[in-house]
Symmetry: C2
Subunit: 318 residues, 2 copies
């Protein structure tokens, strides 16, 4: 079995590469190192079944060449920053939508039939049903990030129909754990390191967010691909919990033994397109025989411990 992992040097991707190698598969890791880290592949690079292709998915010919002889694609590469950049509104179109079209074309040309895709709970916009199931009423998109991921889901599904492919589309909550390099917890940690006495919080701090620990996430993906049989399998991935941003901050400051003065930007949303309440119904994934082993609390603490031991990543991600 030969797998190709796009974004294989990223947070989730590099863990996936390690896991695939551990399970005896050959792995082509495709990454442009725009946010991926070479250090995350240190262990993988000692394995004979590991191959690194440095390339950019925006160039279809690069991914088409890399996909020769591949059996299965894990498409994780993306702009993963949900925050709406009025300065760069085309970024999600280019790095998510167009890039995914390139991956699909490369698959078609190389006759690769299976794909796992990292989508997001952001496709639900501000969901009308919470906890939100996969078949909730068609939502209105509130972020270009969510819109681009939904565009990817649509293309993947249409390729499954048109070219006899099979897809597992995972709508993630935020993922936490070792090698975590962006998002709330990362930002708060960095800011507290800079200024232990003050912490500025976007929104009113009452936004409710969901998180999942990286190895629970990987367990779910492997389980789904093993047992979910449809041509297009859409699966929410999260825990049965959520936390307020203020509670996450409590956990972080308690762990760091800090008592910063908090200030708030105000408003229900942290930024334009932010969702004040993300909580996914994960019954479909549960019914396949998967259970998360770590609480959000566990995930945050594991993340903090890893960040404390890996300060190099703070500089690398600036």
């Amino acid at each position: 079995m030969k797998a190709l992992v796009t974004g294989g040097a990223g947070f989730i991707g590099s863990h996936l590469v390690d896991r695939l190698l551990q399970e005896g598969q050959s792995v082509i890791t495709f990454d442009n190192f725009s946010t991926g880290q070479r250090q995350f592949l240190e262990k993988a690079q000692t394995n004979d079944r590991f191959e690194l292709v440095e390339g950019d998915l925006i160039y279809e010919e690069q991914i088409e060449a890399a996909m020769f002889g591949v059996d299965f694609v894990w498409h994780l590469a993306a702009n993963a920053d949900v925050r709406f950049g009025t300065d760069r509104p085309r970024r999600d179109l280019e790095q998510n939508t167009i890039v995914t079209a390139n991956v699909l074309e490369a698959m078609r040309k190389n006759k690769v039939r299976g794909i796992a895709f990292s989508s997001t709970g952001s496709v639900y916009g501000e969901a009308s049903v919470i906890p939100t199931p996969e078949d909730c009423p068609m939502p209105v998109q509130t972020s270009l990030y969510g819109a681009s991921k939904l565009a990817c889901e649509g293309m993947i599904s249409a390729y499954c129909e048109g070219f006899d492919m099979q897809a597992w589309i995972f709508r993630f909550v935020s993922i936490l754990g070792e090698r975590y390099t962006h998002g709330h917890i990362f930002d708060f940690y960095c800011r507290l390191l800079n200024d232990p006495d003050h912490l500025h919080i976007l929104g009113n701090g009452k936004q409710r967010k969901s998180y999942l620990y990286i190895h629970d996430c990987l367990n779910a993906m492997f389980k789904a691909i093993e047992v979910a049989p449809d041509a297009v399998n859409v699966l929410n991935l999260g825990t049965d919990e959520y936390v307020e941003v203020n509670d996450s901050v409590d956990l972080i400051t308690d762990h760091l033994e800090l008592k910063p003065k908090r200030s708030y930007a105000g408003g229900e949303r942290g930024w334009i397109g932010d969702n004040p309440f993300i909580f996914l119904k994960c019954d479909r994934m549960r019914s396949l025989g998967w259970l998360p082993e770590h609480s959000i609390h566990d995930g945050i603490l594991k993340t903090l411990k890893w960040l404390e031991q890996n300060h190099w990543v703070l500089a690398a991600r600036k």
Copy 2:
């Protein structure tokens, strides 16, 4: 009021241009004439408030320049052929998704705040609820065409959230009437003209389809923009009817006084990604005070009569 109509030389676009001029607006018609017809603009071109810009939306700078001073955008330009082209799987991405991103960027840069968009009932894939309401369960896409239109809807909605715009997104059934230049009725008419004794039908002929007459469609759009108040207004547009493909064929052959021998490609679907049953619930549009004035039967006959008097279009569309 200065309107810009993309695809203004097309079937729906050119009727819209005529109507906008009739209502006293100034109209910039943007078209690349890939499928649009100069003859459709003959009447419009005699009006001082009409301006034609020949350009291609794939070049953002062209649409950005054309949008200077515009108050409202009607974005109708698209690849409108839902049939899945295994030979050209990127067409919908380019001509629908990327082009719409360009239109939105041009609007943002020119501070244009309002957009009407021609989406499609194809975004519902093979809907689990029929008649299908706008807030049906999130569907699985079955055509790249539907997927690309859903991608457009998502970007438009996210721009409304991010850049304080207002959008009216219309999910059309197939539109019929004068200047109709593609689709079932057009194809059947052309084939019967070529060979009055035989008619080959894709699928088993039992596919159930919905149609709406062009002027009912325009009335609905104008009504919605006048009274639907949300930042993002998503509206199905159709009649409360559907017809079997075989029934459409009966109507056509009766009108033409032909008795062709019918043959069938077979299968429930006319092509990969075809939807065997399209029937939209249009209560939302009805509740705004709109009613279609023409039945599907009327629409088909008006279309046939126009085609009979305009054989030039058969050659032009080949």
